[in-house]
């Protein structure tokens, strides 16, 4: 046997897997096409199998070759339209492809695998599905070539080669001189051959092999029968760089004139069976004992007699056979080049660093640090990119799963797959397969009803399952929806009560959403009867645990009779996760930011009013609802040490881009020095409480920690075996100072503390309040002089920095902040508004926002942050009217001025805005009177944008969401010139609105400008896919006006 080179075999396995990766779906597509054979597709499958066969023959993997050959024969018939791919045929092909894949996966033992049953079945299909003439041709063999160069092939093969216009050649390679010495690999040769035509047969001359003691043979002859369109020996010799003497052919028509076998002429179909019979012996034993083609004769005909159902009913091929994890990844050369460049830069950075250290030059240390920081981030990103794979690799197996399962259950299902090219980290792709398979199987088994039941319910008898993947908010969402029966929550409640999981009262009080969630409780399954598919009551809980282990969440939405949607949210990667470093006792811990909802600080004075005890459990009041509290020290069983945290900040994590603040800044030293030392746990603690509001999918609770540190991107490291099962922990990481910090697992902490699902109604109410608060706007409140309160809409803030006073430089009357090796222009309120000067402090906060086309960053100095709060959008625009102030409102009996950051920036740096503003002015004059349709769900932004558009002479129709805008368009009362839309809106979001507009011939000419708080690249990409013409930042009025003017003008020009 020729398998001696592990590398070649590994390469073969890798390549064959790639060849076979799509085969299932392609076969299913072939089945769907039925008699309308898609030649392109059949050819593709044929080529895949053919490549496998070619390489297998070369490596002496006879069983793989045999099976691939069988498959290839059937595919060849389909390709030649000599056979119709019926369900039964495709079923067999699928089984054969499965077997082929399994053999390739365990390639070492493949030669011991028994494939005779499948090979016979394939032959029988050929026998049953084709005309007798074809069958005869399949059975009769002829010899081509002379002497050692002769090959025995079936007539049919020759005929089909001829039909394709291929010429036959026998090529005599020497593996030593022609391949190895040329630096090629044997598989390269096979690849080359296949790229030129069809490798019909090949063999290695056995006499070339010596015993083990022999020195390496000087030549190994490898004989190939090739069918190719190259029509002269010279061309073939050129193609392979071989001497013409090594090539025989073209072996045209009657090859069989001189060889002793006296094979019949290929061109003349045999009239007398005699020569065929004489050439047949090698084949005859295999085809002869076939117990008459009868059982399969009907395979190709439509009404299936019992025999034909056999392939389908035979023991289901175990498809779950362990899919081996990929051991290698393909990376594009450009990515590698980029990595190499970055590695080079890293080396330069290191050299610079060493020089700086040697020279004790502290000034340039900062810039070297900044450079290293940047290179590292880029390197990290580039490396992550090599790990990203499309989710299609997982999705591709589902059409088969659905087909087989629905066939088995007598259901009719259609599977729609969207978003195959969404990319996820390799490790997640590998881990997500099983849970998703389970969900898809569930959808077929429990979700979709039997066709009769569907008809009775007035539905299409064919059920529809939609599998969709998309990016949202930095996570990958996967949803599996079916239009089936939905989940009967009443039955779930009943079952849960019967099983003693919940009390009858609990069942009654449970919200619908919560009741449906019961299905994820271990031991509950609603299937009426237990099938071997699902319904054993293991499943949803396992799915949930597995997905949560990946840092994801599962959510179920169902409507009885309408269907169920299961949404899975996954992080993009597991290897590096943004986390908040917290302190408890003497140790620091990392809490992944995915689980963090917000941070709340309860000052000493507020503790009594906001923390209550219900029985033994502490709860916290948060915006009118109760949140269960867990003390991290209690959960971890360690003593808490009180440490006054970084001054009062209330941060809404969703809005402040914490990930941007990853530079590992330690809390200021004087804070650390104030360590109390003694244990001051309990409600009487004199200081404030730091509460992290964490969310674990179905549970939200407050985690009390001793101190908050910075937010960092951490690299996850596994824990040793002694710590694997420890509750509350998810792994470990190494912090900037080299110490190990453990990573907390929010779900496990809740489980460990036996946290009950809290007062659901209130919980829900709070969610509702958060989600649906359209009329309110989140704003950051701060003071300049302690007596004067200001507010800034959160949506406009890029991030917040805490700086030391000495970091502020004054350059030419302009304040700048030196940081990260660059300088950030600062503006101060007392320079721009009638405001009192800020007090002298050792530290300030800086609110960073971006303006203008260049996304220039500007920092607004905010001496003291007060709160993040929902503020009303009903502003008093009269009392404090001046440039830079939107209006005022009353917060806690104090007047707060709401700032207009763009006007402030413009006032401070008029030169930055002169250009575009002038353009906007001129253009808007031209476009005055243009009709603008504006969709925006936030009343605050709606008012602002409407007012400045109206001020510029446009007539604006404002709508509260995309649906309203769409209906306004449909109503057709007005004609519009430009559509301006928000992206995130209820009912119909901006993408969908744009899509509808662009797909409707009546409206597709309308330019659409999308406005967002902060446009990420991903948003821009999605937007342009939907057809968005331009992206603008809300309240960046000059840019927005310029854009509207540009499009309005174009629209006006088109009209006239």
């Amino acid at each position: 046997m020729a398998i001696d080179n592990q590398d070649i075999v590994a390469e073969f396995v890798q390549e064959s897997r790639e060849h076979l990766a799509d085969i299932e779906n392609d076969l299913l597509a072939i089945e769907a096409a039925g008699a309308q054979i898609d030649l392109e597709l059949v050819n593709k499958v044929f080529r895949s199998v053919h490549s496998v066969k070619g390489a297998a023959g070369f490596l002496g993997l006879t069983r793989i070759g045999e099976l691939a050959h069988g498959l290839e024969n059937v595919l060849n018939l389909i390709r030649n339209r000599e056979m119709v791919p019926t369900s039964a045929v495709v079923d067999l092909l699928l089984r054969a492809a499965d077997a082929l894949r399994n053999m390739i996966n365990s390639v070492e033992t493949s030669n011991e695998t028994d494939v005779s049953a499948l090979v016979t079945a394939l032959k029988n299909v050929i026998a049953g599905g084709t005309s007798t003439d074809t069958q005869k041709k399949m059975q009769r063999t002829v010899a081509v070539g002379e002497g050692t160069h002769s090959f025995v092939v079936t007539e049919h093969l020759l005929a089909s080669q001829k039909a394709m216009g291929n010429q036959l050649y026998v090529i005599d390679f020497d593996l030593i001189t022609d391949v190895e010495k040329k630096g090629k690999k044997p598989l390269d040769l096979v690849r080359e051959l296949i790229s030129c035509g069809e490798l019909l047969d090949s063999r290695i001359c056995q006499d070339a092999w010596g015993g083990l003691e022999d020195p390496l043979p000087e030549s190994i002859r490898f004989m190939v029968l090739l069918g190719t369109v190259l029509d002269s020996r010279a061309m073939v010799s050129q193609a392979f760089g071989l001497d013409e003497s090594k090539i025989e052919g073209p072996l045209s028509a009657p090859i069989g004139t001189d060889p002793p076998q006296a094979a019949p002429a290929v061109a003349a179909p045999p009239a007398d069976p005699a020569p065929a019979g004489s050439a047949a012996p090698p084949q005859a034993p295999v085809s002869a004992p076939t117990p008459a083609p009868a059982p399969f004769a009907s395979v190709a005909s439509a009404p299936p007699p019992p025999a034909a159902t056999k392939p389908a009913a035979s023991p289901a091929p175990s498809r779950q056979e362990s899919q081996p994890a990929e051991t290698s990844v393909r990376v594009s050369v450009s990515v590698l080049d980029r990595l190499m460049n970055l590695a080079g830069e890293l080396v330069l950075g290191r050299n610079q660093l060493l020089q700086t250290i040697n020279a004790r030059n502290h000034d340039s240390l900062e810039s070297v640090g900044a450079r290293l920081n940047q290179v590292t981030s880029e390197l990290q990103e580039a490396i992550m990119q090599t790990r990203m794979q499309p989710i299609g690799t997982v999705f591709n197996k589902f059409p088969r799963v659905v087909r087989d399962l629905s066939g088995k259950l007598g259901k009719q299902c259609e599977l729609v797959v969207e978003g195959k090219d969404v990319e996820l980290d390799k490790s997640i792709i590998e881990a997500i397969g099983d849970p998703l398979t389970h969900l898809v199987r569930n959808a077929v088994d429990h979700g979709i009803e039997a066709p009769e039941a569907r008809k009775a319910a007035g539905k299409n008898p064919v059920g529809r399952i939609v599998l969709r993947a998309f990016h949202q908010a930095g996570k990958v969402n996967i949803s599996i929806s079916d239009d089936g029966a939905g989940i009967n929550s009443a039955r779930l409640r009943e079952k849960a009560v019967n099983m003693g999981l919940i009390s009858r009262e609990q069942a009654r009080e449970m919200s619908e959403r919560e009741a449906v969630r019961l299905i994820m409780h271990p031991g509950l399954s609603t299937a009426e009867k237990v099938t071997d598919v699902s319904g054993r009551g293991v499943g949803m809980d396992v799915v949930k645990t597995n997905i949560e282990r990946l840092g994801g969440t599962v959510d179920i939405e169902t409507q009885l009779g309408q269907g169920t949607t299961i949404s899975v949210k996954l992080p993009l990667t597991l290897a590096i996760i943004p986390s908040l470093i917290v302190r408890c006792g003497d140790e620091r811990y990392a809490m992944p930011q995915v689980s963090i909802n917000e941070l709340v600080r309860i000052s000493a004075g507020e503790i009594a009013s906001r923390i209550e005890k219900v029985k033994d459990a502490e709860v916290m009041r948060l915006r009118g609802s109760l949140l269960p509290l867990v003390r991290l020290s209690t959960a971890l069983g360690i003593a808490s040490k009180y440490l006054d945290p970084v001054p009062a900040v209330l941060e809404d994590n969703q809005r402040v881009n914490l990930a941007d603040r990853r530079a590992g800044r330690e809390p200021p030293p004087e804070v650390l020095d104030r360590r109390g030392g003694d244990d001051r746990r309990g409600d009487t603690a004199p200081g404030a409480l730091n509460v992290i509001v964490v969310e674990t999918g179905q549970l939200r609770y407050g985690l009390v920690v001793d101190g908050l540190h910075d937010s960092e991107e951490i690299v996850v490291k596994p824990l040793g075996r002694h710590l694997k099962g420890c509750p509350c922990l998810a792994g470990a990481t190494i912090l900037g100072d080299g110490k190990v910090a453990l990573i907390l697992d929010a779900a496990s902490i809740a489980a460990h503390c036996q946290l009950a699902v809290p007062q659901t109604e209130e919980h829900e109410a709070d969610r509702q309040a958060q989600a649906g608060g359209h009329e309110a706007q989140m704003a950051l409140l701060f003071t300049n002089d302690p007596s004067e309160l200001f507010a800034v809409p959160m949506g406009l803030i890029a991030r917040i920095e805490r700086i030391r006073a000495e970091q502020i430089d004054s350059v030419g009357g302009q304040e700048v902040l030196q940081y990260r090796g660059a300088s950030l222009p600062l503006i101060s309120l007392h320079d721009l508004l009638t405001a009192r000067p800020r007090p002298q402090q050792s530290h300030y906060y800086v609110i960073v926002f971006r303006v203008g086309r260049q996304k220039q960053e500007i920092g607004l100095v905010a001496p003291q942050l007060v709160d993040i709060r929902e503020i009303s959008t009903e502003l008093d625009t009269l009392t404090f009217r001046e440039t830079g102030v939107l209006g005022s409102l009353v917060v806690d009996q104090k007047a707060a001025r709401v700032l207009d950051l763009f006007e402030l920036a413009q006032k401070a740096h008029p030169t930055w805005f002169a250009g575009p503003a002038a353009v906007a002015e001129a253009a808007s004059a031209a476009a005055a009177g243009a009709q603008v349709l504006f969709a925006e769900d936030s009343a605050f932004f709606r008012k602002q944008v409407t007012s400045f558009l109206t001020d510029s002479g446009y007539s604006v129709t404002a709508c509260e969401d995309g649906l309203e805008a769409w209906n306004t368009l449909l109503a057709g009362k007005q004609t519009f010139d430009v559509v301006v839309t928000d992206i995130e809106m209820p009912n119909l979001d901006g993408y969908e609105l744009t899509r509808r507009i662009k797909q409707d011939p009546r409206f597709c000419h309308l330019p659409v400008i999308a406005v967002t708080s902060l446009a990420g690249q991903e948003d821009v990409r999605r937007g342009s896919e939907a057809g968005v013409d331009d992206y603008q930042i809300k309240l960046d009025r000059d840019q927005l006006l310029a854009s509207v003017a540009r499009y309005a003008k174009a629209a006006a020009a088109a009209r006239t």
Partner: protein
């Protein structure tokens, strides 16, 4: 200060049945480990405590970018815990593909012994269960007890029931 010793540091040729043992003290017992089993010995004792860990786990350390568990041999052998001193060392062994640190009181010499001199361990050594030991070997002045790392890392039942909550 950093005492690091790599596995193949000892260049001397050993005869077939001769073994080299790195020795260290835990309480008053002189323990030995085949030098081939040891990856390094260091003074890296700034550990991060691991809550809910088995009682004999002292914490985790950063071992050149890898997070390694450190176990307290005293706790495993059922001896009362002591504070970490200047003499304490972290003996890093490779156990089933994982690096694990053994916290010991003090490091001894490298000792050569002939296999024939190694006797099976008695039922207990200085009051410690003999199952943790592979054998004993009489040296000039004292008794070298050869540690069975895998048995030791399998852990012993905690001396008393711990309460997790």
């Amino acid at each position: 200060m950093n005492q690091t010793m790599t596995t193949r540091a000892a260049g001397a040729v050993l005869s077939g049945d001769e073994l080299e043992f790195a020795t260290f003290y835990v309480g008053n017992i002189l323990l030995g480990l085949d030098i081939q089993q040891i990856e390094e010995i260091n003074r890296q004792l700034a550990m991060t405590a691991a809550p809910h860990a088995p009682h004999f786990v002292r914490g985790v350390v950063n071992l050149r970018g890898e997070v390694a568990t450190v176990v307290d041999l005293r706790a495993i052998l059922g001896m009362p815990p002591v504070e970490i001193t200047d003499q304490s060392r972290n003996v890093v062994v490779n156990s089933r593909g994982e690096r694990i640190g053994l916290l010991v009181d003090r490091i001894g010499d490298v000792v050569r012994a002939v296999t024939a001199d190694i006797e099976p361990p008695p039922a207990n050594v200085s009051g410690v269960d003999g199952r943790f030991f592979k054998g004993v070997c009489k040296l000039e002045k004292e008794l070298l007890v050869i540690l069975d790392v895998e048995e030791a890392l399998a852990g012993s039942p905690p001396p008393q029931e711990r309460s997790d909550n």
